[in-house]
C-alpha cells in the first residue's frame, strides 16, 4: 500500500475518532461526578426508544402497501412519484415541521375541516406531532427500500407465479412476502436510527418536557443549565442506543436507497382485479395527500411570505451557503481518504483492518452532534472564541455526520473501478495521477457528485448544532426560520422556507449535475 493512500486515510480516521469518541471523552472528563442516571434521564431514554420504535413501525407498515401499489400499478406520473419519494431525504427538517403544523396544527387545515364539522381542533403537540413528522420523512425512505426489494426479485419469478396462476394471498406468500422480509427489517432499523437521534422535531413539536428525546435533553442540559456532566451522561446513553441501532441497520439495510431516480420496473401480471386496483389507488392517493399537503402548505404560505423577507434572511442564506460549502469540502476529503484506505485494505491488506476502518466510518451515526459541539467549546475556549468560529465548526460537525452516508456511496464505486479495471491499469503501468484520472475519475465522478450534493443539502438544512453555536444575531437560514416561527412571524418563516427549499435542492442538483458531467446534461 502506498503512503499516498495510507497517510490521508489514517488522518481521516483519526479525525473521525477524535470527533466522535474523543468528543465524548472530553465532555465526560468535565462531568465525571455526574453519576447515577436520574428519573428525567430514564424518561428521555424511554421516550426516545418509544417514539423511534413507533415511527419505524408506522413508516414500514404504511410503506408496504405503498411499495406494493407502486410495484404493480402503471400510471402516468408513476416515475415522477417514485423519484419524489427520494425528496424528503433532502428536505430540511424545519421546512417539513412548518408544513406539518400548517396541516395538522391547532389552526391548520385539518383542524379547520374538523371545526367545520363541529368537531374539536387537533392537538398534535407531544408524541402525535413527533410521529406525524417522522412518518412524513421516513415513509418515503421505507417505501423506496421495500420497492427496491420488489425490484431485486428476478423477473422470472413473477412469470412463473403467473403461469402457475398464483394470485392474491398465495402470490403474496410465495413471491411478495420473501421480498418484504428481505427489505423491511433493514428499513425498520434505518428509520429507527434516524428517529432515535431526532432533535429539531422534538424541539418544535414536543410541546413540553413530556416529549424530550435524548438529543434534545443533551441540548437542554448544555444550553439551559450549562450542566456538562448531565450532557455527557445522556450522550453515553445515546451512543449506546444508536450504536446498537446502527449495527442492526447496517447489518440489514441497503443504504443506497436514498439515491434518486426511478427504480426499474418489472412486468407483473397480478393485481388486475377491481378490488386490488381500488385499494392500490386509495393507498397511493392517501400517501400523496399525506406527503403532498404539507409541501403544498409550505409553498402556498411561502409565496405569501416572500414579501416579508428582510435582509436578515439573505444574510442567513449567505451563512448557510458558507456552512454547506465547507461541509461539502470536508465531507469529500474525509470520505474519499477513508474510502480509498478501506478499499486498499480490502484488496491488498487485511480484511479485519478493513472492517474496523469501515466501522469507524460509521461512528458519527451514533454520536451526538451536540456533544461534538460542546467538546469544541470546552477545548477551544481557552485559546479562541468558539462562537466566532460558529460557521466552520458547524460545517465540520455536519461533515462528520454526512461521512457515513458518503462512504456508503463511494466505497462500492471505488471498489468496482478497482475490481473491473485495476488489473488492466496495472498491466498498462498506470500510476499516480494518471491512474487517478484514467481509472478512478470517470467511475467515481458521478457517485462523488451525488455524495457532495447529499452532504451539501443536509448541511444547508441542518438545524442542530448551530442552535448551540450561533451567536443570537447571526443565525443560519434553518435557525432563523425556527426563531421566526417561535416568535410567531409565521409568514416570514414560510417565506424563508421557500428560499431554504430552493437552496437545498439547488445545491443537491448542482453537485449531482457536476458529477454526472456531460452524460447527465
Amino acid at each position: 500500500m502506498t503512503p499516498r493512500v495510507l497517510l490521508p486515510g489514517l488522518l481521516a480516521l483519526a479525525i473521525l475518532l477524535a470527533l466522535t469518541l474523543g468528543a465524548l471523552a472530553v465532555v465526560a472528563a468535565r462531568g465525571v461526578e455526574a453519576g447515577a442516571i436520574t428519573l428525567p434521564d430514564w424518561r428521555a431514554l424511554s421516550f426516545t426508544l418509544r417514539q423511534a420504535f413507533l415511527s419505524a413501525a408506522l413508516s414500514v407498515l404504511l410503506a408496504v402497501p405503498l411499495a406494493r401499489a407502486l410495484a404493480r400499478r402503471r400510471f402516468r406520473g408513476r416515475d415522477l412519484l417514485t423519484t419524489l419519494l427520494g425528496a424528503p431525504f433532502l428536505l430540511p427538517v424545519i421546512v417539513a415541521i412548518l408544513g406539518v403544523i400548517a396541516v395538522w396544527g391547532r389552526s391548520g387545515w385539518a383542524s379547520d375541516a374538523l371545526l367545520a364539522l363541529g368537531l374539536p381542533r387537533l392537538d398534535i403537540y407531544g408524541m402525535p406531532g413527533v410521529l406525524i413528522a417522522h412518518v412524513f420523512f421516513n415513509l418515503p425512505l421505507a417505501a423506496r427500500l421495500i420497492l427496491q426489494g420488489f425490484s431485486d426479485l428476478p423477473p422470472e419469478r413473477w412469470r412463473v407465479a403467473a403461469q402457475l396462476g398464483a394470485e392474491g394471498w398465495s402470490l403474496f406468500r410465495l413471491v411478495e412476502w420473501p421480498a418484504i422480509r428481505a427489505s423491511a427489517p433493514g428499513a425498520f432499523a434505518l428509520v429507527f436510527l434516524v428517529c432515535a437521534t431526532s432533535f429539531a422535531v422534538a424541539l418544535a413539536l414536543g410541546g413540553g418536557p413530556r416529549a424530550t428525546t435524548l438529543e434534545l435533553a443533551i441540548y437542554e442540559a448544555a444550553s439551559y443549565e450549562f450542566d456538562l456532566g448531565r450532557a455527557a451522561k445522556l450522550a453515553g446513553l445515546q451512543f449506546a442506543v444508536c450504536a446498537l441501532a446502527a449495527l442492526l441497520a447496517f447489518a440489514a439495510a441497503a443504504p443506497v436507497a436514498a439515491s434518486p431516480g426511478a427504480l426499474t420496473l418489472v412486468e407483473r401480471w397480478d393485481g388486475r382485479g377491481r378490488g386490488a386496483r381500488a385499494m392500490d389507488g386509495a393507498v397511493i392517493a392517501l400517501v400523496c395527500l399525506f406527503l403532498g399537503l404539507p409541501m403544498l402548505a409550505v409553498v402556498l404560505r411561502g409565496v405569501g411570505g416572500l414579501d416579508d423577507l428582510g435582509p436578515q434572511v439573505w444574510a442567513a442564506t449567505g451563512r448557510s451557503l458558507i456552512v454547506a460549502a465547507v461541509a461539502v469540502a470536508a465531507t469529500l476529503a474525509l470520505s474519499l481518504a477513508l474510502a480509498a484506505l478501506i478499499v486498499a485494505l480490502q484488496t491488498r491488506g487485511s480484511r479485519t483492518a478493513a472492517r474496523l476502518a469501515d466501522l469507524a466510518g460509521l461512528l458519527p451515526i451514533a454520536a451526538s452532534p451536540f456533544v461534538v459541539g460542546i467538546a469544541f467549546i470546552i477545548v477551544l475556549r481557552p485559546v479562541a472564541d468558539p462562537f466566532a468560529l460558529a460557521l466552520p465548526l458547524t460545517a465540520i460537525v455536519n461533515a462528520a455526520m454526512a461521512t457515513p452516508f458518503a462512504l456508503r456511496i463511494l466505497i462500492p464505486a471505488i471498489r468496482l473501478a478497482h475490481d473491473e479495471h485495476g488489473r488492466l491499469a496495472d498491466s498498462l503501468g498506470l500510476r499516480g495521477a494518471t491512474r487517478l484520472r484514467v481509472l478512478y475519475w470517470p467511475r467515481v465522478r458521478a457517485p462523488l457528485g451525488f455524495a457532495a450534493g447529499l452532504s451539501g443539502a443536509l448541511a444547508i438544512g441542518d438545524l442542530g448544532v448551530i442552535a448551540l453555536f450561533s451567536t443570537p444575531n447571526e443565525p443560519t437560514l434553518p435557525l432563523l426560520m425556527h426563531l421566526l416561527a417561535g416568535s410567531r412571524q409565521v409568514e416570514a418563516a414560510h417565506g424563508a422556507a421557500l428560499v431554504l427549499i430552493a437552496l437545498s435542492f439547488g445545491v443537491f442538483w448542482l453537485f449531482d449535475r457536476l458529477g454526472r458531467g456531460r452524460e447527465g446534461a
Binding site: 428521555a44 389552526s107 417561535g486
Partner: protein, 332 residues
C-alpha cells in the same frame, strides 16, 4: 474557472465586519419582545444613542432565563456587554457564575415595592404575574388557584418553560410559594389543562390570542396594552385570592465587557426618566424608577391582594427543588 467564480460568489456573501465609523458598540443581550418594533428596543436605542456617542446593539438572545444559559455557555468570551432581561429570581444564580461585575454607579432610590439595593443588577421594571383571559370567550374567570384547579375541563392554559422563560419561572415559584410541599400535586392537577409549554413569553401569549387556550400566563399589566394600543378592553387579568407573584426585571454588566464604562453608563441610563417613561407603554410593566404619571389604563388593572416573592438569596435552592418537581410531573 468555474471554481474561482464560485469562490468569488461565496466571498461576496461573507458579512464584512468593517465599521462605518469609530463609535464604540455596546452589545446588549435581551429577549425577543424587547427588541421587536413595538417593544421598548427602538425607543431605548434612539434615546441612549442621543447621549452616548455610541452604537447600541440590542440582540434578541432568547427569553429571560435562556439569556443566563446563553452567557454561561459563551462564558468570559461573550460578545455581550450587558444582559437585560434577567429577573430577581435569577439574580443569585447569575451572581454565582462570576460573569457579572458591579456597576459602581450612584443610582437614585428605586420605585420597586419593597425596595431594591444591589451593586450589580439594576431593576428596569416590575409587575405581577397573572393569567390573562378574553371576556368574549370566558365570562367568569377563576378567582383563585383553587378555582382554576376545579374549573371545567375545557378551561385551558398556555405556560412557558421555567428553564428558558422568566414568566415560566415566575409561575413555578408562584405555585411553590402558595402551595409549598403540595406543589407537585397541584402541577399534577394543572397538567391536563396545559395546551403547550413554550420556550418564551410571546409564543405563549400569541397562542392565547389566536384562541388556542382559555388563558395565558402573562402579567396583570398586559390588558393595558390591548386598551391603549388596540382600543380593545376584552382582555383581562384573572385576580387570584392567594395573591400574585411579583417580577422585578433587571440588567447587569458582564465582567468581560470590552467597553465597561459605556456599560456602566447604560445601567445608569436605565434608572433615568428618559428610559423609564418608555417602559409602561412598550414593555407593559411598571417602571422601576420614577417616570411621571402612568397612563390612565394602568388605573383599571388588577391590584393583587398579596404581593408574593421569595428573597433573591433563597431562589437558587427553591428553584432547583421546584424545577425538579415540575419536570417530574410534566415529563410523565
Amino acid at each position: 474557472m468555474r471554481h474561482s467564480l464560485a469562490a468569488a460568489a461565496f466571498a461576496a456573501l461573507l458579512p464584512f465586519a468593517a465599521q462605518a465609523d469609530d463609535k464604540p458598540t455596546l452589545t446588549v443581550y435581551t429577549y425577543d419582545s424587547f427588541v421587536s418594533e413595538w417593544g421598548p428596543g427602538p425607543k431605548v436605542e434612539e434615546a441612549f444613542e442621543a447621549v452616548c456617542d455610541c452604537d447600541l446593539d440590542l440582540v434578541a438572545a432568547g427569553d429571560g432565563a435562556a439569556l443566563l444559559g446563553r452567557v454561561r455557555l459563551e462564558g468570559a468570551r461573550s460578545d455581550a456587554d450587558v444582559v437585560l432581561g434577567l429577573d430577581a429570581n435569577l439574580v443569585a444564580m447569575a451572581r454565582e457564575t462570576g460573569l457579572f461585575a458591579p456597576h459602581g454607579q450612584d443610582l437614585p432610590e428605586s420605585a420597586v415595592p419593597g425596595g431594591w439595593a444591589d451593586d450589580t443588577f439594576v431593576p428596569y421594571d416590575w409587575g405581577y404575574f397573572a393569567f390573562v383571559y378574553d371576556t368574549t370567550r370566558t365570562e367568569t374567570p377563576p378567582a383563585s388557584f383553587e378555582d382554576l384547579l376545579n374549573a371545567p375541563k375545557d378551561v385551558t392554559i398556555v405556560i412557558q418553560d421555567p428553564r428558558t422563560s422568566t414568566p415560566g419561572l415566575g409561575l413555578l415559584l408562584w405555585v411553590k410559594h402558595v402551595y409549598g410541599d403540595e406543589a407537585p400535586s397541584v402541577w399534577e392537577r394543572l397538567e391536563p389543562r396545559i395546551v403547550t409549554v413554550t420556550k418564551g413569553w410571546w409564543e405563549a401569549y400569541s397562542a392565547f390570542l389566536e384562541g388556542e387556550a382559555t388563558m395565558a400566563l402573562s402579567y396583570t399589566t398586559s390588558p393595558a396594552y390591548h386598551v391603549i394600543a388596540e382600543d380593545d378592553d376584552t382582555k383581562r387579568a384573572a385576580a387570584f385570592e392567594e395573591g400574585h407573584y411579583m417580577q422585578i426585571e433587571v440588567a447587569g454588566k458582564l465582567a468581560g465587557s470590552d467597553v465597561p464604562d459605556l456599560a456602566d453608563r447604560f445601567l445608569a441610563f436605565i434608572a433615568k426618566e428618559d428610559f423609564q417613561t418608555i417602559i409602561p407603554t412598550t414593555n407593559w410593566m411598571y417602571p422601576a424608577y420614577p417616570a411621571g404619571d402612568l397612563p390612565e389604563a394602568f388605573g383599571d388593572l388588577v391590584e393583587p391582594a398579596d404581593s408574593l416573592i421569595f428573597a433573591p438569596e433563597d431562589t437558587p435552592a427553591v428553584r432547583k427543588a421546584a424545577l425538579a418537581e415540575w419536570l417530574d410531573v410534566l415529563s410523565r
